[in-house]
Each structure stands twice: as structure tokens, then as C-alpha cells.
């Protein structure tokens, strides 16, 4: 991104430091990423190490999160599944960003028939429930992680297209855009240099919130057996498998559930804080002057 984008990010980071909730969220996210990268090393035992002598053990020193119905260590599975969840979040939101933002830019900047066609397509996509769409894609590609990521990415594309378009519509009416046109800047330059940096704030916020929801969606898909296939661990899948043992083995559902909860919460905290930091312009001298004039 441009230099201005970087300075906005720097400003945001320095402001985030003073917000305890944002700091908490960020710390949790960093830990999650560490776990996602190094989960298989951190895990005390292998992900699919079956131990029939230790089925459905409650949490203990040797198995802090207990064991499941096949005697597998729940802690290890939760840690290793972090990678899947983060990967799903990153890839699906990445797809949505890569497709949605350019579509929204074109739509909002040129408007007219292009806008009409693109936005009606987005409406159609948007109207599909994520699960229905996933089922349809699964029917074509077969179930699996990739399918889940594509399905979620497709579902989030219209959201990014809409957020981008709304931002473009207001920014393109700003005088500084007209000023750029007046010095002869090309459309591409105006979109890249003037429009995109000025809609970065809502996009960053939307990204962090969508990451959280994407992880939830993956859990839902895996829960229905449309995402990650057994025996690979995924938080949603584990939740699904644990549902039969709610009364006698609560730990099967609680720990993956807590992991989902923490991750979503962390993304939400950071997203909310980013919205606060990026949205209202920092109080400037001229604003202070105007409010006292």
C-alpha cells in the first residue's frame, strides 16, 4: 500500500496501545497465531494418537483438557485445530477481499450499468444462506477444507463489495477527488491513491469482523460434516463430535467451544478498537478551533 496507508496504520497502532481491550484482543490473536504455526510442536501428544485405555477421561494433569471417546488428547487436538481455523479465516476472507474490493471499487467509481449489473449479482450471492451455498459448492467440489474456504469466501465477497462501494460513493464526491481529476490524474491513479486509502478504515474493520465470522462459519460447516473431514481436528468438528457426550463428558465440547469463543472475541475486540481509532478523525487544531469559534 502507499506511504499514506502505512502512516494510517502506524497512527492506529499507537492509538491502540492505549486501549486495554484492544491490547487484550491483540495479545490473544498473537498467541493464536503462534499456536496456529507451532501447534503440532506445542501439543503434548499426537493429534490422532488413539489410546483405548484412556477413553473419555476428565481433565487431569496428564490431559489438562481430558480425552475424547477414542482416548485422544483434547488439548493437543484443540491446539492443532487452531491452524485450520486461522487458515480458513485468512483464506476465505482473503478471497472475499480480493474479489469484493475491486468489484466494489469499479461499481462505486463508475456507477451506471456496470454498477447495476455487479450489485445485482452481489445481491443474488448475498441472498444465499452460507450453508446452502456451501452445500451447493460441496456438491460440485466434494466436501473438505478447501470447499469450506471457497464457500465462505464467496459468501463474504458481497459484504466487502458493498462496504467498498459505499465508501467509494462518499469519497468520490469529495472535492479532493475532483481536484485530482482536475490535474489530469487517471481513474486508476485516483482509485489507488485517493479512494482506496480513504476507505481503508471501514475495510480494515470489516476484515477483522469477517475473520471472526469466517471461523464461526467453518465451525458450523464442520459441525455439519461439510468442512474438515475426520479424523483431522477442527474446532467445529470437535464440537459436533462432542455433542453426544454433553452430560458425561462436558470437556469434549467446552474446550473447542472456548477456543472458538476466544478467537471470535479477540477479532471482535480488535475490530471494534480499529473502528474507533480509524473512523473519527483525530482531534486536530482546526477542529478545536471550529468547536470554539
Amino acid at each position: 500500500m502507499s506511504g499514506a496507508g502505512q502512516s494510517a496504520v502506524r497512527r492506529a497502532l499507537s492509538a491502540l496501545r492505549h486501549d486495554p481491550l484492544a491490547v487484550t484482543g491483540s495479545v490473544v490473536l498473537v498467541l493464536l497465531i503462534v499456536v496456529g504455526v507451532a501447534g503440532s510442536w506445542l501439543a503434548p501428544s499426537g493429534v490422532n494418537e488413539v489410546d483405548v485405555d484412556r477413553m473419555l477421561q476428565p481433565p487431569s494433569w496428564s490431559h489438562p483438557f481430558g480425552t475424547d471417546e477414542l482416548g485422544r488428547d483434547v488439548l493437543s487436538r484443540v491446539l492443532i485445530a487452531a491452524r485450520v481455523s486461522l487458515q480458513v479465516g485468512a483464506v476465505s476472507v482473503g478471497i472475499a477481499l480480493a474479489v469484493g474490493v475491486p468489484l466494489g471499487l469499479l461499481s462505486g467509481y463508475y456507477r451506471g450499468w456496470l454498477d447495476n449489473i455487479l450489485m445485482r449479482c452481489m445481491d443474488v450471492l448475498f441472498a444465499f444462506p452460507v450453508l446452502l451455498l456451501a452445500v451447493a459448492i460441496v456438491a460440485v467440489l466434494g466436501p473438505g477444507l478447501l470447499t469450506a474456504m471457497i464457500a465462505i469466501g464467496v459468501v463474504y465477497t458481497p459484504i466487502f463489495a458493498r462496504v467498498t462501494r459505499a465508501g467509494v460513493l462518499s469519497v468520490r464526491e469529495q472535492v479532493f477527488v475532483r481536484a485530482a481529476v482536475s490535474v489530469g490524474a487517471s481513474d486508476l491513479r485516483i482509485m489507488r491513491r485517493h479512494v482506496l486509502p480513504n476507505i481503508a478504515a471501514p475495510l480494515i474493520v470489516q476484515t477483522s469482523l469477517s475473520l471472526a465470522f469466517a471461523i464461526l462459519s467453518e465451525a458450523a460447516l464442520s459441525f455439519l460434516g461439510l468442512g474438515v473431514q475426520p479424523p483431522d481436528p477442527a474446532w467445529g468438528r470437535m464440537l459436533y463430535d462432542g455433542r453426544g457426550f454433553v452430560t458425561e463428558a462436558w470437556w469434549l465440547g467446552v474446550f473447542p467451544g472456548a477456543a472458538i469463543f476466544l478467537t471470535v472475541l479477540a477479532f471482535n475486540l480488535v475490530g471494534d478498537a480499529l473502528r474507533d481509532v480509524l473512523d473519527p478523525r483525530q482531534l486536530t487544531v482546526s477542529e478545536a478551533r471550529r468547536s470554539t469559534g
Binding site: 482531534l283 487544531v285 478545536a288 478551533r289 471550529r290 468547536s291 470554539t292 469559534g293
Partner: protein
Amino acid sequence: MSDPPVLSVEDLTVTIGTRRGPARAVAGVDWSVRAGETLALVGESGSGKSMSVLAATGLAPRAARVAGRVHLLGTELTALSPDRRRRMRGRHVGFVFQDPMTSLNPVLTVGRQIGEAAEEHLGLTRRAARDRAVELLDLVGIPSAAGRVDAYPHQLSGGMRQRVVIAMALVCEPDLLIADEPTTALDVTTQAQIVELVADLQRRLGTAVVWITHDLGVVAGTADAVAVMYGGRIVEQGPVDAVFARPAHPYTVALLAARPEPGAGGGDLATIPGSPPSPLDLPAGCAFWPRCPVRGDARCAHELPPLVPVSVDHHARTFYRPPREDA
């Protein structure tokens, strides 16, 4: 001139807490306005001209700390409870703000908006309030008032909207009308209409008017007395003729010279270097010192000059004493 002032302000100070520290928007300001009289508060952005009036009438923002004494019709306003102050203000003071579009509620008819104040403060029924609205629209020169009373703000032109705002301000026959840059958003020919309208209403109703503006031409045409503000303080005040004919503060002198004189041709204009100071960061002595072309006294840099008499009722905040003409 023995009748008591409608509104008087003594030693008014307004400090606003901001993220970047306290902003001293108004510092030790005194002025008063009598029935039938127009006081113009003149200044640039950040001079404190609007804030001093908002604070005096209890409309300062929540973050503002207001100190000083304010008397409205002899009642000390700062001693009243917020609720009594609100009622007193609603009954005796009318406001006209700069932008008529944002002063009006877009989803209510103009008749309802004018009538609301009449219902609230005069206890009129809805029907009587509507009749009062028609009467007022007629008073402010809106043609076929009975037909326009059910119009929505967006159906009126800018000038008509400002007339509606003035009608709203006049509902309770206020003793005081506060006009905060009421013509700034309007075209010149519409401005002339509104200036004429306010002058005419004042003659007929005997209202006191505080006119806040940055336009010296408007001041010359409307005011009896003028107070020039800079950096939160009054730097010069007095009868309008005296201040315009014999300005004593270098800021007033410079302001009068900075305006292109109609018909004077195109030489370079006298300018004041720099821009008005921020209330967050005011100089130690005279706030105008950093931009002052005169700098007649070395003390100005560190010491606040006192308001000294120049002639009858005419004061200027300066150490520098220009030669007196009447001496």
C-alpha cells in the same frame, strides 16, 4: 440610556476541556445590550465571539466550564437551575443560526416547528399555535403565509428558510434576539433582505439584538455598538461610528484595511501576516502581538494590555495610546 440592559455579561470566561488540554475560548469578557439596540460581536474563527454568547445563555457545550456573571432582564442566570434557565431562555431569548437548513427539522412542517415553541412557552393550543405561526410567517415577509405554513423546509429557498428561522425565534416575542452569522450562508441580495427584515422587526418590536458576524460591512449597516474580539478577548468596543471612524486597536485597524474598498481600484491590500491563534495555544501577552504590525509597546509581548478608554464609551485593549483627537 438609563434603562437597564436586557442582557449583560461580566467577566465571562469559558474554558473547554479537549483531548489536547484546556482551550481558553473566552477570557474575561464584558458587554451588554439594551432594548432596541444592536450589539455586533465581530471576530474571526476562534475569536470566541459565538462561544461568549452561547455560554452567556447557557448553551455552551457540556465540556465547557463557564465563569462570570450574566444578567438577563435583571436576573442572574448563572445562579438559576438548568431547568429554570432553560425556561427563561425559551421565553425571553430567540436564536437565529447561520445555516437555516440545519436549524430546521426536515421532517416537520414549518408551521409545526414555529408552533411548537408557542405551545411550550405560551401554553397555546395546537390550533392557536398554528394561527400564531401563520401570523409570524406573515410578519417575516413570507408571501401567502397561510399556504406556506404546511410546507416542509426543503420546499423553501435558503432565504425563505432563514425567514422561517427568524419567525421561530420571534414566537414568544423575545426581549433579545441572538443572530449568529445569520446571513453568512446566504447570497448578497438575500442577505440585504434579511438585514432589512431584522432592522424592521427591531424597530417595530423594540427587541435587543446581538449580531455575531465576521463581516464588517454588515456591522456598519446594522449595529449601534460593536465589540471586536480576538483570541477570546474583546480588543476594542464602543459605538459603531467611533470604532469605525477612529479604530484604536491595531487589529481593528488592520481588519478594516484588509477589505477591498468598493471602487478603490486594485492596489495591494494591507494584510495581517499569519492566521488567528488557536484557543489551545494562546500567546502570553496580547494575543495579537505575534501578528501585530504596530507593536507600539514592548510590554505587549508578555503582559496583557488593559482595556483603556479612547473616547466616550469607546475602549481598546492596548498599552499604545494613539494621539487623542479631542484633546
